[in-house]
């Protein structure tokens, strides 16, 4: 056993796959310790907030210390963000269309540009432009008001008695807060999804659920496949015929179609993660059966099996002691493949809206389903679906890598 393990861990591929899987497992185990809270909690009012650090504006104003930093390029950065060059060019286009001579307009002299803009711009003047363009200029006009102001913003509070506004402070353009001193800062490394949920938290939980589904489904499929394969292969005769009849039936019907039909007929209310796992397990044992059976058939007439038979051992004893150990390595590999394909099956089911109930747990497939419904893929919200795809790829990739590694160790024809 020790020797086998050492051999296995000498395989680079196995180790690589194993490391990826362990890393994922660690992520699943450790992440919830740091970020607590319901992965399905709706925290964002609005859809698809981009990844980043979210600093509470209100708390920033009331942060204990305000620091003054006189940074040289602060004003330039501010202007560049609120009025990038593209917008300045567009302003020029409007002004020229309005009849201002082109040579009077210098897009690099922002002050002059703004002066000439505010002097001439009339939001009701269409200049024959399409609405989208007119509205663009109206928005631009609103957004650049006070662009060059060097004064701060006055904070005012409502007097509870009179209802009048009273000045309580001023935020200067050179005021800074230290982010560590702001009471509420939330990092959303992968933004939020269409429900306003934290994608990373959801992703970690979903990965755990998907692995769980994969494991349950894989174990079920492998157990069924192994049992039937062993029986059919060793006993032979009408038992073999019967089992192969059933197996062939299942081979002919595409298992994914079967899966769709079964999950549809179960109804969403009863479709928990485990139910889905069982359904997947029950529909994907066929190839394991066939493979185990053929292996067993070649083992059946080996000398040590015959010896065991002569010694009067029971069928059960022979199968468990003389046959199973020889195919164990194959079974482990089959299990790994079953797990990874079950994860894919769950994802495919959920994309069709036939996955587990949506209110219970997130799964990788469900996350993609909702991202697709809310058109994240055509609106460029990569954070809602790309990490999910990568996660699924990583899981299945690591398992397949481990499988290839094992194959190299156990398969005599591949042994180097």
């Amino acid at each position: 056993m020790k020797h086998t393990l050492r051999q296995v861990f000498h395989s680079g591929k196995f180790v690589a796959g194993f490391c990826i899987l362990v890393a994922l497992l660690l992520l699943i185990a450790i992440y919830p310790l740091f970020v607590k809270g319901d992965p399905l909690a709706i925290i964002g009012q609005g859809t698809f907030f981009p990844p980043g650090t979210y600093v509470n504006t209100y708390d920033s104003i009331y942060a204990p210390n305000t620091y003054t930093l006189n940074l040289k390029d602060a004003a330039a950065n501010r202007i560049a963000q609120r009025l990038p060059e593209k917008d300045r060019e567009e302003m020029k286009t409007w002004l020229v269309a309005y009849g201002i001579p082109e040579e009077q307009i210098d897009v690099n002299d922002i002050k002059a540009l703004l002066d000439i803009w505010f002097e001439n711009y009339d939001p009701n003047e269409s200049l024959g432009m399409i609405y989208a363009k007119q509205r663009y200029y109206q928005r631009l006009n609103d957004s650049i008001r006070n662009l060059l102001s060097i004064e701060g913003v006055i904070l005012a509070e409502k007097n509870p008695e009179t209802g009048e506004l009273q000045e309580v402070g001023i935020v200067n353009q050179t005021d800074y807060v230290n982010i560590n001193e702001v009471a509420n800062v939330r990092v959303l490394p992968l933004g939020t999804d269409n429900f306003g949920r934290d994608v990373l938290t959801e992703l970690v939980r979903a990965t755990a659920v998907s692995l769980e589904i994969g494991l349950v489904a894989g174990v079920i499929a492998t157990l069924i496949g192994l049992t039937l394969g062993l029986l059919a292969g060793y006993i032979g005769g009408w038992v073999d015929d019967f089992i192969m009849f059933i197996t062939n039936l299942f081979t002919v019907i595409p298992s994914f179609v079967l899966l769709i039909l079964i999950s549809f007929s179960i109804g969403q209310e009863k479709r928990g993660a485990v139910t889905i796992a069982i359904v997947i397990g029950l529909t994907s044992w066929v190839w394991t059966t066939r493979a185990v059976r053929s292996q067993v058939m070649s083992l059946r007439n080996r000398d040590h099996v015959n010896l065991s038979k002569l010694s009067g051992h029971s069928i059960f004893y022979i199968i468990t002691h003389d046959i199973f150990p020889y195919i164990a390595s194959y079974v482990v590999m089959a299990l790994i493949l079953q797990i990874s394909s079950a994860i894919l099956a769950e994802a495919s089911l959920s994309i069709l809206g036939l996955g587990p109930r949506t209110t219970d747990v997130p799964t990788l497939g469900l996350m993609m389903n909702w991202a697709m419904i809310y058109q994240a893929h055509i609106m460029g919200r990569w954070w809602a679906y790309l990490p999910v795809i990568i996660m699924i790829a990583l899981i299945t990739f690591s398992m397949n890598l481990m499988n290839t590694g094992l194959d190299q160790v156990f398969n005599p024809t591949l042994r180097e």
């Binding site: 609005g46 399409i130 609405y131 989208a132 209110t359 419904i373 893929h377 795809i389 790829a393």
Partner: protein, 635 residues
């Protein structure tokens, strides 16, 4: 060698993994390409007529010049079945839709309803209609200029015969109106008289519905109808399923080409409306096209690419199209909610479900729901919030909002997300968790509900998820379920609802129309629809309230505005007190998002049109006027 094989197999596995799980990203690509008309191939095959300078889009046999064609999406799903205006199962979304804002591209109504000012404007009719003194009948004239596509004039006799046919063959129109309209007769060639069914007071039983017939039902040619009757041997079923390829129309467009990928209408150059007594000219686009897209995503992709000019689809975060992507796209309003809200998508309580007959349970759920999140997330802010437009039975248009007394029902309003209030309500009603499993019980049984919406109706589904989340907060177990629409509609419209799975379910309410808000209120609350089968009207939860019924019955014949306002206020009070259902958001009559790559001058707020052209895709009711205003961006 072995190494190479393993590398190959890893690559293969990766490819399989990516193609299997990358479904979201990749499946849309083919949709995109199918959505886009396959220009290069067809163009080379069929270089029939080739206007030299314009971009060309092939359509079946001919090539449509892009600058003479306006493209739509979101109306037609699946291929057209028939062109029969008597039938309600033609799946012909571009030409047949007899509704409050009737679609008048091919067939026409006497009047056009304008949801923006609540008025009707004559189309086939000449001048305003008039009630007689006793309010027993309506008289109106037909425009002398109006004629059919075969050149014969539209007469009062056509109007009368259309009605007679609806009644004789018991069409949907006939069935829903004959309780209110006694008869329609032609006094002379131009004059139509609609005789109302009279109530006990000797006046029209329901003047609102009689009036609305004029703007929601087509006039169909008598001669053609007789031909159709002869063809089907006066058999009702055959009449309703006749494909009517030979139909005679009066509208500005007619069928040009259809198959299972597209519907193309072509302008009728002899359209009577170019007469000075109506529009004075022909509508601008020569062709109206509608590709049949696989799904919303395909339609949106085509819209973004400028292949669709007017989109009637829900586009999540529509503002990103112009803010982030800089596309020449605009909606009716420049800022959120971007559209004019007209209907109230509503979650109905199944009052037959265990515990939902308890007001405390219904109210607790309704006040615990986070509506701001529904509006921000499910509708991506394309709805007014309940802060802006408080909850009532009225849609957010100023006309309807003025019909009830806001202050009188102020204390009944709930803003949502009131978890503590909901818990207290349940505690006070004695509905508490006694067995410690986290869920409250009513008379010993856990409160467990399934909230449901049709699969694929994304905004409803997302809203229902938020409702379910609220249940968890207050100790009521609400899970979600999304059956397919075909299943959903059969279940919801047929009482009794199943014991499970349909405890809280989404359905619509009426939008804007000449009978609103009365008709919407009737459909939401009137017990005449409670516990009925084949119910496409409303009140699917089975709510009954005699006071509400009495008011609903009285309103149509009320003429005193103060009394009317009082009645509406009382109905709102009953609705907010009993909470038989609760509105989750406001929704526009039609989504109306336009891409100004080719066409411009679409209806938008403050566009200066008098009367204002409503944003209804240039095809419903008065919005058809927009087709006469559009211009090319680059003529």
């Amino acid at each position: 060698m072995k190494r190479r094989i393993t590398i190959l197999s890893i690559l293969l596995v990766l490819a399989v993994v990516l193609s299997a799980c990358g479904g979201t990203a990749t499946t849309e690509v083919p949709a995109e390409t199918t959505a886009a008309p396959t220009e290069p191939t067809e163009k080379t095959e069929e270089p029939t007529e080739a206007p030299t300078e314009t971009e060309e889009v092939p359509s079946g046999e001919v090539v449509l010049p892009r600058k003479e064609t306006m493209y739509f999406n979101g109306q037609q799903w699946g291929s057209v079945v028939c062109w029969n205006p008597y039938s309600s199962s033609c799946n012909n979304a571009m030409t047949i839709a007899q509704q409050d804002n009737a679609r008048v591209l091919m067939f026409e109504t006497p009047y056009l309803y304008n949801m923006l000012d609540g008025q009707v404007y004559p189309l086939l009719a000449d001048g305003d209609f008039a009630w007689d003194e006793g309010r027993t009948q309506i008289t109106f004239k037909i425009k002398p200029a109006a004629h059919w596509s075969d050149g014969t004039p539209v007469t009062a006799e056509d109007v009368a015969y259309t009605w007679a046919t609806h009644v004789k063959y018991d069409t949907a129109t006939g069935a829903s109106n004959k309780a209110y309209i006694a008869d329609i007769v032609a006094e002379d060639a131009q004059t139509v008289v609609i005789k109302a069914v009279l109530g006990e007071n000797g006046q029209a039983l329901n003047p609102l519905l009689v009036q609305s017939y004029l703007s929601s039902n087509y006039v169909i040619q008598k001669a053609w109808t007789q031909k159709l009757e002869a063809r089907v041997g006066e058999d009702s079923a055959a009449l309703l399923t006749d494909p009517a390829d030979d139909v005679v129309w009066s509208g500005p467009y007619t069928k040009f080409y259809t198959d299972d990928t597209k519907v193309i209408l072509i302008r009728d150059e002899n359209y009577w409306g170019q007469d000075a007594s109506m529009w004075g000219k022909l509508p601008i686009p020569k062709y109206l096209g509608h590709m049949i897209y696989k799904d919303n995503a395909a339609g949106t992709t085509a819209f973004k690419a400028g292949e669709v000019d007017v989109s009637q689809q829900f586009i999540a975060n529509v503002q990103d199209l112009w803010l982030k992507e800089g596309l020449p796209v605009s909606t009716y309003l420049p800022e959120a909610p971007y559209h004019i809200g007209a209907s109230l998508p509503t979650a109905f309580f199944n009052l037959g479900s265990y515990g939902l007959d308890q007001l405390a349970v219904r109210k607790a759920i309704a006040i615990a729901v986070d509506y701001d999140t529904i509006i921000a997330n499910a509708m991506t802010n394309q709805s007014a919030t309940f802060d802006q437009v408080p909850r009532s039975l009225m849609n957010p248009t100023p006309g309807e909002q003025a019909l009830y007394d806001h202050d009188a029902v102020k204390d009944l309003q709930f803003a949502g997300k009131d978890i503590e209030g909901a818990k207290k309500l349940l505690d006070d009603a004695g509905i508490v968790d006694t067995d410690g499993d986290g869920w409250r019980e009513f008379e010993g049984q856990n409160l467990h509900y399934v909230a449901t919406a049709p699969n694929g109706w994304s905004d409803w589904q997302a809203a229902i998820e938020v409702v379910a989340a609220a249940g968890k907060e207050i100790g009521i177990d609400i899970t979600t379920n999304y059956p397919e629409w075909a299943v959903y509609q059969t279940i919801v419209t047929n009482w009794p609802l199943p014991e499970k799975d349909f405890d809280i379910f989404m359905m619509w309410s009426d939008g804007a129309g000449p009978t609103q808000p009365w008709s919407r209120i009737r459909h939401l609350m009137s017990s005449e629809f409670a516990e009925t089968t084949n119910n496409w009207n409303g009140n699917w939860g089975g709510y009954k309230n005699a006071d509400a019924d009495a008011l609903i019955q009285a309103i149509p014949s009320m003429t005193d505005e103060a009394a009317l306002k009082e009645a509406y206020t009382e109905l709102v009070r009953i609705y907010l007190t009993d909470i038989p259902s609760f509105t989750l958001m406001y929704r526009p009559q039609s989504f109306h998002t336009v891409n100004e790559s080719v066409w411009t001058n679409f209806p938008h707020e403050g566009d200066g049109t008098v009367p204002p052209v409503p944003p209804l895709d240039l095809m419903d009711g008065w919005s058809v006027a927009g087709l006469y205003n559009v211009t090319l961006v680059n003529p």
